[in-house]
């Protein structure tokens, strides 16, 4: 392994780094303008949103090219622009943005996938009456997400993070007339909030320990050796260092956003939102923000690890990720809603990414994030195309035989499905999943995650085959005639399908460009990469696993024309297990019986206290204040004004200014003034004696 490249000493940020803030700012401004646009002006709303994101894509590509150019010259680029936000005496809070390989890659992915989904949405949402509102939210989301990506400060990241959460809430509940959509939006917001509270705690702790929330600040940032060294010295509870404890708190936030166990419950429900939203927010970008966050604070998570070792925080990340991967894949097997299957699949794949981060480092997790973003967006948009073609039908049991009616959708969907399943050699998903499995194989702590992830891969291939068989093969069980979607929807599918295949090239063992790029090392084509010990075995194993999964799925579901009401093959074989999986292993029910029940009880107690104890006290204080205020007004109007009015009356009868000066008003005022002076002086003399 070569040593990492030297960091370029940052004298002044390059022009593109200086302008990086425009990338999130332009879509946000566009959202603001769209918000003011009247509903009928659809073209303008969509044009503004798409135009602004195209501009962001352009800037992102320039930024990416800048980083690649620096990297090609053997210099790891990390340019930061920081500015002071709040000053309180000597203390100040700084915000800023950073351009490095990690943010550059994410920028390009988010803007590219986002742009394709924006274009797709103009077709998908064409008949919705709230078209402009949709694009306003979508644009705001894109801006906030890009803000998360470029943040060089945990605080700025958190602000954008919350903004992303807000837009997610707004978009899940976009069809708020449906009670289920409104409930799902609420659930998503509240569940992610649980994680965010821990995130906030971690942030405050980090600030208290290091005095800065900047990631990189030419040596003084919180992710740089000086601060990390300080964090390692401080012990926290349970044998953790402060670094580990803060890392775990931040991970809780990431777990909420990325749907990790046990906070995954909101993500499948979030499918109530329009399908482009599911593709953009709940598959490609926002849910990946948690993974990105962990990659961003990886130096913190990794601090204190010996060579080849790991830390408590990373171990926790790994176990949570691996468990989520298997858990969600199991549930996905027994779902019948086309989007819910994909949702659980997303949860499962996010688990893979987390596990990859935990065991293999930033490059492994991020590579899967990037490839997954493309093929999962593709799958969601394909599902959207199917739903669109079947007039809002989402139950896969009422589909079937669509490969003839929707050939383009079928082809692209098949590409996405094979990429997700990890079909060997040809598809990007194979390479990114293999990198995670390889890391799991070499993990020093335990071997169980490896077996869990292999099992998950088998399940993935199986449930995707089941879904595709139900939807595209066999005879039609639908009530309506399917039709292919318009070109504005299928073109983005084709482009995404291209990337779902092609992206694998940059992450093969022979040419690990992506990894080298992120880790700041040089990359070269070297087929000896395949001859590393165990690698070939692993590749063969995972290929076999995928084929077994695909074969099993095809065997059970392939080309069988079951009627819509006929129970599933597996349901007949193992009815109890099936029921458990279908009901999502009862996590929601568990929460309902524990957390939510407790809250109901606590709310009733609080309500009782409020009504009977606090309410009385507050009312008492309110009466007191009210009385005082009335007294003040009385004094003001009757004594002060009253005497003046009386004076004026006398003035008008007596006439003349001199008479006015000599009448009662002046006496009142002066009496008060003189009295005040005397009282003050008395207080002063009295207090100086003591």
């Amino acid at each position: 392994m070569q040593e990492g490249m030297p960091l370029a000493p940052q004298l002044a940020a390059s022009p593109i780094a200086q302008m990086l803030w425009l990338i999130p700012a332009v879509p946000i401004v566009a959202a603001g303008i769209v918000a003011l646009v009247k509903q009928p002006r659809r073209k303008m709303a969509a044009g503004l949103a798409i135009g602004s994101l195209s501009f962001s894509l352009l800037l992102s590509l320039i930024a990416f090219a800048h980083v690649v150019a620096g990297w090609a010259h053997g210099v790891a680029v990390r340019e930061t622009v920081n500015f002071s936000w709040i000053e309180v005496g000597a203390a100040h809070v700084e915000l800023g943005w950073v351009l490095d390989p990690l943010s550059a890659v994410m920028l390009v992915m988010v803007t590219l996938v986002g742009l394709l989904i924006f274009i797709y949405s103009t077709g998908y949402m064409a008949h919705d009456e709230n078209f402009t509102r949709f694009f306003c939210f979508l644009s705001l989301f894109a801006g906030a997400m890009l803000g998360v990506v470029i943040s060089n400060s945990l605080l700025l990241l958190f602000m954008n993070w919350e903004l992303v959460g807000l837009t997610s809430y707004l978009l899940i509940g976009f069809w708020y007339q449906r009670p289920s959509a409104a409930a799902a939006a609420k659930k998503a917001f509240l569940t992610t909030r649980v994680g965010d509270v821990f995130f906030l705690l971690g942030m405050v702790w980090l600030f208290a320990q290091t005095g800065t929330l900047l990631f990189y600040d030419s040596g003084a940032g919180s992710m740089e050796p000086l601060a990390l060294g300080g964090l390692l010295v401080h012990p926290a509870a349970l044998g953790l260092t402060a670094a580990g404890a803060i890392g775990l708190l931040i991970f809780a936030g990431a777990a909420g956003k990325s749907g990790q166990l046990p906070l995954h419950v909101w993500l499948p429900d979030a499918m109530e939102g329009p399908t482009p939203v599911s593709a953009l927010i709940h598959a490609a970008t926002m849910v990946a923000a948690g993974v990105y966050l962990i990659a961003r604070v990886y130096p913190l998570m990794h601090a204190g690890a010996l060579a080849g070792g790991t830390t408590t925080a990373l171990t926790v990340v790994t176990w949570v990720g691996a468990s989520t991967a298997v858990f969600a894949a199991l549930i996905a097997v027994a779902q019948n809603d086309i989007k819910r299957i994909l949702a659980y699949s997303t949860v499962s794949q996010l688990g893979y990414m987390m596990a990859g981060l935990g065991m293999g480092g930033v490059a492994v997790g991020m590579f899967h994030l990037i490839t997954h973003a493309f093929f999962k967006a593709l799958l969601f948009m394909g599902a959207g195309s199917v739903i669109h073609g079947l007039h809002e039908e989402q139950d896969i049991r009422r589909m079937g035989g669509l490969k003839g009616a929707m050939p383009l959708t079928f082809l692209t969907y098949a590409v996405g499905m094979l990429a997700l399943s990890g079909f060997p050699l040809l598809f990007s998903g194979f390479w990114s999943k293999d990198a995670i499995l390889e890391a799991a194989q070499h993990w020093s702590v335990a071997k169980a995650p490896f077996y869990m992830l292999v099992f998950g891969a088998l399940l993935t291939a199986f449930y995707m085959t089941r879904q595709v068989s139900y939807v595209f093969f066999g005879k039609s069980r639908a009530n309506v005639d399917a039709h292919e979607s318009p070109a504005v929807m299928t073109m983005p599918l084709a482009i995404l399908a291209f990337f779902a295949v092609a992206l694998g090239v940059i992450g093969t063992p022979a040419w690990p460009w992506f990894r080298a790029f992120l880790e700041g090392r040089t990359a070269s084509v070297d087929f000896h990469g395949f001859s590393e010990p165990g690698l070939m075995t692993l590749m063969v194993t995972s290929s076999v696993v995928v084929f077994v999964g695909l074969g099993l799925g095809w065997l059970l579901y392939g080309n069988k024309s079951s009627s819509a009401e006929e129970p599933d093959v597996l349901e007949r074989a193992v009815p109890r297990l099936w029921a458990a999986l279908r009901d999502k292993l009862y996590v929601d029910e568990l929460y309902g019986a524990s957390v939510i029940a407790f809250y109901y009880w606590w709310a009733r107690v609080a309500d009782w206290l409020d009504r009977n104890v606090w309410g009385g006290a507050v009312a008492l204080i309110a009466y007191g204040f009210n009385g005082w205020a009335r007294l003040s007004r009385f004094l003001d109007t009757n004594i002060v004004d009253g005497s003046f009015d009386k004076g004026c009356e006398e003035l008008s009868t007596g006439g003349g200014l001199l008479a006015h000066v000599q009448n009662g008003r002046v006496q009142t005022y002066l009496r008060l003034l003189a009295l005040a002076v005397v009282v003050l002086a008395a207080i002063l003399f009295w207090s100086s004696r003591g």
């Binding site: 005496g89 003040s632 002063l684």
Partner: protein, 509 residues
């Protein structure tokens, strides 16, 4: 110091005076036949140009031997807090001048602008004054201008009434101030603030302690009148209610900035000599003649605390019961003055307190000008400044309602508006300067009372947004007025989102 230096120090004031004369000449000589609107516009613009020239002149001020800390016989300070306050005064004056364009309370617009500029000159001098005589003359220059401005709406009985009250009360307060000054001169044998502060720590100073206390209370009465601190506040509600809106905005902002700058000047002088005088002070205490003697700082703080607490409590509580928005703003001004007095009572030699107070008073001035601007527009449309005149404002003029929304919430201290950071900085400054139960309790009181203040601000907003309108006719204002109001609201929002902008600027002096 020679007269050339003095002239170069007073270049900004000179520019304003010249501008005042130009306005008078132009208005009286060339525009006698022109329509009122045009005359108002020309006069206001000339005034604005004068203020701009004055700001430019600040760049050419001589700092030769005059910048703080200066010589023992310092008359005027240059730079530091003075420069910030002077720039603030000029900018706020510009904003109040813009409010004139759309108003019709007087036909004598030339005189009005001239008086505004002269009063602003007084403000500039107050912010720089380091000598009792200069302070007194400058205060009079400002105050006399304000009395005239209050009385400017000659057709309005209210205006005359309130001006009379203001004038009589102000005259008495000034008399107290002068009396206090004479005692101070008697104690120290000098009119220079620097020399007076040094004299507090002379070995024989303890003998004059009773005289000093009386002097300080009288000075506090005079200055408390300027900043409308309870119990020297009696003029404020009537004046705010009766004065023409642009004049009321001027009184509420520019005059406050100047007076608080003077209080900063006094506190700075005291803090500045404290280091030099420390040795002498120890000697005095060790001498044991009067162990109760505590120099200037302690009794001054005690007075300011008393004023601060009474202002915060009475201002906030009395505001709850108001039905007139102008009177409400008057009482809320007392409350805000109370918060600032708290920071002055716990003052530190470092720039922290100074910057926090300047930040507060400048942003408060900006916000309150905007609030008076909205009140003026509503008043012209409805003929009343009662709360019920704001019913359905959201329907009648959405932009005006939104501006009012931003400004009032900023006054209440809601983030992310600038009022929040102003309060935050101010309270942090108090707590940093002095640890202890008393400052903590006072800050807690201030925070609790600013929560109370939210109630009466929301009363206005509730009428503007929630309650049904009695009258649906749209309210239109002059585009310049609207532009200024929107600009003010936008800066309140922008400074709130990026608080370091203004903080960085303040720290640069």
């Amino acid at each position: 110091m020679n007269y050339l230096d003095l002239f170069r120090v007073t270049l900004p004031e000179t520019a304003l005076e010249v501008a005042a004369l130009v306005v008078l000449v132009v208005d009286l000589a060339f525009l006698r036949k022109a329509p009122l609107q045009a005359r108002a516009t020309v006069a206001a613009l000339l005034g604005v140009i004068g203020c701009g020239a004055s700001i430019l002149m600040m760049l050419f001020q001589s700092q030769n031997g005059l910048s703080y800390p200066g010589t023992g016989e310092l008359l005027l300070s240059v730079g530091g807090y003075t420069a910030v306050a002077q720039a603030g005064i000029l900018v706020l004056t510009v904003l109040t001048l813009f409010l004139l364009i759309d108003s019709n309370f007087t036909r004598h617009v030339g005189e009005y602008v001239a008086v505004v500029l002269m009063a602003a000159t007084g403000g500039l001098l107050i912010a720089a004054a380091q000598d009792l005589l200069v302070i007194f003359v400058a205060l009079e220059l400002l105050s006399l201008g304000l009395y005239i401005l209050t009385a400017f709406a000659k057709h309005s009985g209210k205006s005359a009434e309130s001006a009379m009250k203001y004038y009589l009360f102000g005259g008495m307060a000034t008399a107290f101030l002068l009396f206090g000054f004479s005692y101070l001169y008697g104690i120290a044998g000098s009119t220079s603030l620097h020399q007076i502060m040094l004299a507090m720590y002379r070995p024989d100073a303890a003998a004059t302690a009773p005289l000093l206390y009386v002097a300080l209370v009288m000075v506090a009465a005079g200055l408390g009148f300027k900043v409308a601190a309870v119990p020297f506040h009696l003029w404020a509600p009537d004046t705010y209610e009766g004065a023409p809106a642009p004049a009321a905005a001027f009184i509420a902002s520019v005059s406050k900035v100047a007076s608080f700058a003077l209080l900063i000047g006094i506190a700075t002088a005291a803090a500045h000599v404290f280091g030099d005088a420390q040795v002498a002070r120890v000697a005095v205490v060790a001498g044991g003649t009067h162990s109760g003697y505590r120099g200037f700082g302690a009794p001054w703080s005690a007075i300011l605390i008393a004023l601060a607490v009474s202002s915060m409590v009475l201002g906030n509580l009395a505001a709850l019961a108001q039905t007139s928005v102008r009177r409400l703003l008057a009482y809320s001004a007392m409350a805000h003055a109370g918060y600032i007095l708290l920071a002055l009572a716990f003052f530190s030699y470092s720039a922290e307190s100074t910057n926090a107070i300047l930040y507060y008073i400048l942003t408060y001035g900006l916000t309150t000008i905007g609030a008076f601007g909205v009140v003026a527009v509503v008043e012209r449309a409805t003929g009343s400044d009662k709360m019920d005149a704001f019913l359905g404002l959201h329907k009648r003029s959405p932009i005006l309602a939104d501006v009012l929304f931003v400004l009032l919430l900023s006054l209440a201290g809601i983030p992310p508006l600038v009022g929040f950071w102003a309060k935050f900085n101010l309270f942090v400054a108090v707590l940093r300067v002095s640890a202890g139960v008393v400052p903590f309790a006072l800050v807690a009181l201030a925070v609790a009372l600013s929560a109370v203040s939210l109630y009466y601000y929301l009363q206005v907003l509730k009428r503007a947004y929630v309650m049904p309108a009695v009258d649906d006719t749209p309210i239109v204002a002059h585009p310049v007025t609207m532009g200024v109001l929107i600009l003010i609201a936008a800066s309140v929002l922008a400074l709130g989102c990026f608080p370091a902008l203004l903080q960085g600027w303040l720290a640069g002096f």
